[in-house]
């Protein structure tokens, strides 16, 4: 109250009570609102952001998800040896294709036309995984990767899809994420053995490029 008295004392004698009250109220409201403002901002900071944040970087605070979770497909990594029994863990096996010494397993995804693929060598060691995560109810965002894995080693144009997506490559982690440029939603993931920049670009020269290819269409 002392503080209030002080305020009253500062009021001139001929000032009307109403005016004094008004000034007092203004100040009280003012400080209340200051308090609310601070609280709202703090809450805002501490509240996870919506998923439609910017694609790269404007991501929520990195979660505790570890790198291995991000670089695995249903618990499997490139380099794992798979067996007949473990095949089921990849999903419903749709088809198997022999490609030379290698074998390509196609597993069901959310979309029939876009099955997930696991490629193994002659020793049943996984050498690549292609996961299609587009449009699922449980969307992933590239920001989750950047917040955990840091900036990608390569940011490539995807010639096969178009320029509404970009492919972000982590060479050492062996993962390439193709995501929409507007919201960062992941459409494809490619798992591969860690490799060099040159080797990766060479291996994917037909579909991934450092330069855009757009122009008159």
């Amino acid at each position: 109250m002392g503080r209030t008295e002080h305020l009253f004392m500062s009021i001139k004698p001929n000032e009307s009570a109403w005016n004094r009250l008004e000034k007092l109220n203004v100040k009280i409201i003012f400080f209340i609102l200051v308090f609310l403002t601070v609280v709202s901002i703090v809450l805002r900071l501490l509240t996870p952001q919506g998923r439609d944040q910017a694609s790269l970087g404007a991501s929520p605070t990195p979660s505790s998800s570890n790198i291995s979770n991000l670089t695995k497909f249903r618990g499997h990594s490139v380099g794992d040896i798979i067996s007949g029994t473990s095949l089921t863990s990849f999903g419903t096996l749709l088809d198997t294709k022999n490609i030379g010494q290698e074998k390509k397993y196609l597993f069901s995804s959310d979309y029939i036309s876009k099955p997930n693929a696991v490629i193994v060598d002659s020793t049943n060691r996984i050498i690549a995984i292609e996961e299609n995560v587009l449009g699922t109810s449980n969307k992933e965002y590239v920001s989750e990767f950047t917040s955990t894995l840091g900036s990608p080693d390569l940011e490539l144009y995807n010639l096969a899809i178009g320029e509404s997506v970009k492919t972000y490559v982590y060479l050492n982690h062996g993962i390439a994420i193709t995501a929409h440029t507007t919201d960062g939603s992941v459409e494809q993931k490619l798992f591969f053995p860690p490799t060099s920049r040159e080797a990766f670009l060479t291996d994917h020269v037909d579909t991934l490029s450092l330069t855009p290819t757009d122009g008159p269409e």
Binding site: V26, L33, A58
Partner: protein, 1274 residues
């Protein structure tokens, strides 16, 4: 590695008998009197040489090779056997119905040649270690033949085609187009095969075979247009017609035809050629190269294989007869006698007299005499630099083969000599100079001088040295360099060069050039003029560009410039570049209207090569422009372009005289390449010496200078480097996260220029900026910052905090500004008017020391440290600071405002007064910062989410990334937030209060734009605020500049306005921001708010991309066409409108020049803008089709997940190669866009006016999806 085109192996597999003579079946010539070790390299040479002439000849040579190879057992029951480098014989199996015996008794038809190539392609494809890209190209070649009997039939039909067939309209059938398409594919593959096969070492010296030429060849072979057209116009038609008939008949005549027939044919051919050439000479002022080119074009390739001599040689001879040019003959009495007009006739007469019984002997003695007898001069020592070191030349063994086989025939000598002479003269005189100086015969004295120098050069060499001199690309260029040196050392020639360039100014006055000799603006102007010049006339374009490409290849070496491509693709880059035709060069290096051609390059890989080349060439153009400017201003250029190196005396590049820049530039280009490569540089040094006449000391100085500058370059941040690139008109390399390569042009910038560039916000105005703004941020920084900061609040807070702290480091602010900032509610004092002073406190501080780390870098670091745990503390502290500084004027202002605000909110807003007061106090700084940053940051600053509890969630608004996305998107999503600029007035006065009446209804503000144009903007809080911002702030005439005195108003929540007076010339850095939204088109919704007209002069899609194109102004008619296309049907479909316009941000439609296809929705603009070319405005269905297709891309950009869902559910797109009826490269995005447009128009129009596309029937899944998701969504 089974097949390495560029290697020369020493294996002896496939050796042929020395006794065999290879006879050219197309003419009575013995091509080689002896065939020694015919190995892969030689075969490649033979084929390559043949292809240099024409395909017909190549096939004929294949024919000639056939018995030879057969005799050696190389055919072995098949058509062809190729001894590969690994010694293994690869048997080529031919698919076809031709029996073995037929080949031996008949001509090898084109079909056989194609079949052989097909088989070869297949073998190459099957080899295990063939490069993947080549393998891909080869894939299906054989199958193409097998699966397309029509093609084989077509080719075989060609074999048997004669004039009658032509007249009967053999190919007038409807299927011609389809066949032609197939043939086109074959041609491409043929080129692929031969391109790889030829390798890098043997480049055709001129008149390279291109796809276009091959196409033309086929066309001519079929229709013989050129011949017949010419003959019909020619005065000698009647005489020549008989010859033509004979030639037509000859195509069916075997090489065993009678001597009499041959004799007649030879005679007639000579007459025919003479007639044509003389006609050309009389009608044309063409240069020699152009003449040769013209000759090739004029003559059907079916004709000149029948000639006794190569056209170039005959041209020289006839030029000689015309007393125009006799440069290239050895000054040997016997030679002169032979090739003088009368002597030639005598020789020809003698030849024809003996024709038959002494045929081969005559050929030997008169026409195909070995080189050693031609070059009679004593041997002297060739320049050491050409003899030693790793030159990349074929090895001695190969030279031996050349010598043994007299490969360097007389024709070659003449041709090569002509080539290097032409090249040297072109380099010295330029295309204008050649004409002006009368090099070719107009001035007999000059002509004689040149001729003497050429002779003097060549006469110094022995046979072996001659062989080496012309043995490879690099050596030919050495020869050119040597000739240049010699020509320049001749005072008379040098004087003439001087005279040429005295008159050759390209419109730049000498005084200008002198005053601004180091001005890149002048250089840019000249570069533009050069470009215009090159574009103006085809010959100039051809020569300039091809010469540049030649220089690129020869001087710099694609191996060095494109190491990755060369390694990966095994010389494919060389092949690719060499086979670019003029149109492609035009398209690639000058873009513009022919950009579509570039877009249709077969692979991204080749486009990547081109991108690099464009970067390199852009440097060349600047360099050339500089050279031109310097030549124009100096009278002593004739003393030797290449001899001034000694004048360079200082290691500091800034001290190097402008007159030496040419040398410096060129020289350092070499040394730079070398240094970048880390190579030993010996070869490059020699090249510099040869090419420039520079001594080793000069080279050393160049390198020293480079070493001085490189660290400075490396110390620049990437954005600074980008600005410098832009300033120098250098195209940026493809998107890269790393720093840019060191550019030699950097060495010519002064420290002041560099500083200005480093600190300026707009490169185009950099030179005029004298001081650094502490808050001159960059787009890069702003976006980086925006991406790194976890939330909009902390961005704002962080900025304020930084501003507070910065007060302590800008003590000059108060003094320089002359006092405190103007009080609230009063106008800014207007521009201070001080020379060089910015009226913006803080900006005005002239006494800034070395540039500190940028504000946003510091902020970024600061905020990164604070992150979430400290966020609340930061906020509290910042607010506390703000309250402490709650100024009386701000309080007064706020109180006034509050009084006019929605009851209840005013007090609440006062709570934000700390922030507002802070902003107010620092308004100038804030605006300074705003002016230089991406709109994304503006958004961050004002979207104080949840601040008062009635936020509308805009803090989690649309994403922003690239600037294109940032513009409009976030701001547009900020309901109730807006900003705009009011009248530009000097010393503008405002209280901001008069606008408050509009507060509750948004900005009912009438204002005049910065340029005075009407830009009244009445808007509600719900309309796109950024559009209003841009519409009011910006105008076409003031692109990128927020005008001095402009009043900026920004609103928070549509209720509270913060008013800033802009007092300086803020340069809005990102054209993406400023180039948009000039005004809304008239008309009602949904057009309004959904589209905006793009301004003219906008660099589309940005100012960085090398393939950018400058937009033009809209005409009313074009805009009506666009709106008509939109309103035809799409605008009435709510779902479609929602997909396109749902973000609330208008799509800016730019009018792009040129007749390239449709439109362009580039990634850099991320769905905010669209460019439409001429063909989008044909009207009717064509326009609707184009517009809706392009809007399909916009939908893709603006609706994440939609396209992916479409692809996943329909199976269309790249993986299946099914893009419906989209023809220009299948990618998922194209399949999607095509489905979008088909869903609307499939039953309305016919493609090409004739072809229906029953979308529901052909692609039911896609149709259903589009209907459900694009045209009938909720």
């Amino acid at each position: 590695m089974g097949f390495t085109p560029g290697s020369s192996s020493g294996d002896s597999a496939g050796q042929l008998s020395d006794a065999v003579q290879l006879v050219d079946p197309t003419g009575p010539q013995t091509l080689f009197t002896k065939i020694g070790d015919v190995k892969k390299l030689d075969l490649r040479f033979v084929l390559g040489k043949a292809f240099t002439v024409n395909t017909q000849r190549a096939i004929a040579w294949l024919e000639a090779l056939y018995p030879l190879l057969s005799e050696q057992g190389l055919l072995d029951g098949q058509y062809f056997t190729i001894p590969f480098a690994d010694g293994e014989r690869k048997v080529v199996t031919v698919r076809g119905d031709r029996k073995q015996g037929e080949l031996q008794s008949e001509r090898l038809y084109l079909s056989d040649a194609v079949a052989i190539l097909a088989a070869l392609a297949k073998r190459l494809h099957d080899l295990p270690d063939v490069d993947a890209s080549l393998k891909s190209s080869l894939s299906g070649f054989g199958d193409t033949l097998a699966d397309s009997p029509n093609v084989l039939e077509w080719i075989q039909g060609y074999d048997k085609l004669d004039k009658t067939a032509f007249e009967n309209g053999f190919f007038a059938e409807n299927a011609l187009a389809a066949k032609y398409h197939e043939i086109q594919k074959l041609i491409e593959l043929l080129l692929e095969v031969f391109g790889a096969y030829l390798g890098a070492n043997e480049r055709p010296p001129a008149g390279y075979i291109t796809q276009e030429k091959l196409t033309q060849y086929l066309r001519d072979a079929i229709f013989a247009d050129a011949i017949f057209e010419y003959l019909q116009k020619s005065d000698k038609f009647r005489t020549l017609l008989s010859v033509t008939d004979a030639l037509q008949q000859n195509s069916q005549v075997s090489i065993q035809e009678s001597a009499e027939t041959l004799q007649r044919r030879v005679t007639n051919n000579q007459e025919l050629v003479r007639g044509v050439i003389n006609k050309l000479l009389s009608e044309s002022n063409s240069t020699i190269d152009a003449l040769i080119e013209e000759f090739y074009e004029e003559f059907s390739p079916t004709l000149y294989p029948q000639l006794l001599v190569d056209p170039p040689r005959l041209i020289w001879e006839l030029l000689d007869e015309n007393q125009k040019f006799t440069l290239y003959y050895k000054d040997d009495d016997k030679e002169n006698q032979l090739f003088s007009s009368q002597a030639f006739e005598n020789a020809l007469k003698q030849f024809t007299q003996h024709f038959g019984e002494n045929f081969e002997k005559d050929l030997e003695e008169n026409l195909l005499r070995p080189a050693q007898t031609v070059v009679a001069a004593p041997a002297v020592t060739i320049d050491d630099s050409a003899d030693s070191g790793d030159t990349g030349l074929p090895n001695e063994e190969v030279f031996d083969i050349y010598r043994k086989n007299n490969v360097l025939s007389r024709e070659q000598l003449q041709y090569e000599a002509a080539w290097i002479s032409s090249d040297a003269l072109l380099q010295l005189f330029g295309i204008h100079g050649l004409n002006e100086a009368g090099v070719y015969g107009i001035d007999p004295q000059l002509y004689g001088d040149i001729r003497s120098e050429v002779y003097a050069l060549l006469s110094t060499y022995s046979v072996d040295q001659i062989n080496k001199l012309f043995a490879s690309d690099s050596n030919r260029m050495r020869a050119v360099a040597l000739l240049i040196k010699r020509l320049q050392s001749n005072p008379a020639i040098s004087l003439r060069i001087d005279q040429v360039y005295t008159h050759f100014k390209l419109g730049i006055s000498i005084s200008d050039a002198t005053a601004k000799r180091s001005s890149t603006a002048v250089q840019a102007q000249i570069a533009k003029l050069l470009q215009d010049e090159a574009l103006a006339t085809s010959p100039a374009l051809n020569i300039n560009l091809q010469n540049t490409v030649d220089s690129l290849i020869f001087n710099y070496g694609l191996n060095e410039l494109l190491p990755e491509e060369q390694r990966v693709n095994r010389k494919d880059a060389v092949w690719f570049v060499e086979h670019l035709d003029d149109k492609m060069l035009l398209a690639i290096f000058f873009a513009g209207e022919s950009l579509a051609a570039f877009q249709r390059l077969p692979s991204g890989e080749q486009r990547a090569i081109i991108e690099k080349l464009k970067n390199i060439l852009s440097g060349f153009i600047v360099s050339r422009a500089r050279e031109m400017a310097l030549r124009a201003q100096t009278a002593d250029v004739g003393k030797g372009l290449l001899n001034e190196g000694n004048g360079v005396g200082d290691e500091d590049a800034n001290a190097i005289g402008a007159g030496n820049i040419t040398h410096f530039t060129t020289g350092h280009a070499f040394s730079s390449v070398r240094e970048d490569l880390g190579a030993d540089g010996k070869g490059m040094d020699r090249a510099i010496q040869l090419h420039m006449g520079a001594d080793s000391g000069f080279i050393q100085r160049l390198n020293d200078a480079a070493r001085l500058f490189k660290p400075a370059w490396d110390a620049l941040d990437i954005e600074d480097q980008k600005r410098i690139y832009a300033f120098l008109n250098l195209a940026l390399p493809p998107a890269s996260l790393g720093k840019l390569p060191f550019t030699i042009e950097f060495m010519f910038l002064t420290a002041a220029q560099i500083n200005a560039l480093r600190r300026a916000q707009d490169m185009s105005n950099a030179a005029s900026l004298r001081e650094e703004s502490e808050y001159a941020t960059t787009y890069y920084e702003a976006t980086e910052f925006a991406q790194l900061v976890p939330s909009a609040v902390s961005e704002s807070i962080g900025m304020m905090q930084a501003l507070d702290e910065d007060e302590g480091v800008a003590p000059e602010e108060a003094g320089a500004s002359g006092g405190e900032a103007p009080g609230a509610g009063t106008a800014g004092p207007g521009p201070a008017g001080g020379v060089g002073d910015s009226p913006i406190p803080g900006v005005r501080g002239v006494k800034h020391g070395p540039r500190k780390e940028s504000l946003f870098n510091r902020l970024r670091e600061k905020l990164k440290k604070t992150k979430s745990k400290k966020a609340s503390k930061v906020v509290s502290n910042t607010l506390a600071k703000s309250f402490k500084k709650f100024a009386a004027e701000a309080a007064k202002q706020l109180t006034q405002w509050i009084g006019n605000i929605v009851p209840g909110l005013g007090t609440a807003l006062a709570a934000a007064g700390g922030i507002l007061q802070f902003l107010w106090k620092h308004r100038e700084k804030v605006l300074g910062a705003l002016a230089g940053m991406a709109i994304a940051f503006i958004r961050s600053l004002f979207s104080l989410p949840g601040l008062l509890g009635f936020g509308v969630g805009f803090g989690a608004g649309a994403a922003f990334g690239p600037i294109g996305a940032a513009v409009g998107g976030p701001m547009g999503a900020m309901l109730g937030s807006s900003a705009f600029q009011t009248a530009t007035t000097t010393g503008a006065t405002t209280t901001g209060l008069s606008q408050q009446g509009a507060a509750t209804t948004g900005l009912g503000q009438s204002a005049t734009s910065a340029t005075g144009s009407a830009a009244a903007a009445t808007t509600t809080a719900e309309t796109s605020v950024l559009a209003n911002l841009a519409a009011n702030i910006l105008s076409p005439a003031a692109i990128g500049v927020i005008a001095p005195g402009a009043l900026i108003m920004m609103s928070l929540f549509s209720t509270l306005y913060i008013i800033f007076t802009i007092q300086g010339s803020f340069l809005v850095r990102t054209p993406s921001l400023v180039g948009f939204y000039t005004n809304f088109p008239p008309g009602g919704p949904p057009l309004e708010g959904c589209f905006a007209q793009g301004i003219a002069g906008f660099s589309f899609p940005d100012n960085v991309r090398p393939d950018r194109v400058i937009s033009t102004a809209w005409t009313e008619g074009d805009w009506n066409t666009f709106t008509g296309a939109w309103n035809a049907e799409a605008s009435t479909n709510a779902c479609f409108v929602k997909r396109v316009c749902g973000t609330g941000t208008p799509v800016t439609i730019f009018r792009l020049p040129g007749s390239a296809y449709g439109g362009w929705a580039p990634s850099g603009l991320n769905g905010t803008a669209l460019g439409l070319y001429d063909l989008a405005f044909l009207g009717g269905g064509s326009s609707e089709y184009t517009v809706i297709h392009e809007l399909g891309h916009i939908i893709d950009y603006r609706n994440p997940g939609l396209r992916a869902d479409f692809i996943a559910k329909t199976g269309l797109g790249a993986s299946s190669g099914n893009c419906l009826n989209y023809e220009f490269g299948c990618a998922d995005a194209e399949a999607f866009a095509q489905a979008v447009v088909l869903g609307l128009i499939w039953d309305k129009y016919k493609f090409g006016g004739t072809t229906s596309y029953n979308f529901p029937q052909i692609a039911p899944k896609a149709y259903e999806w589009v209907v459900q998701n694009i045209y009938s969504c909720q």
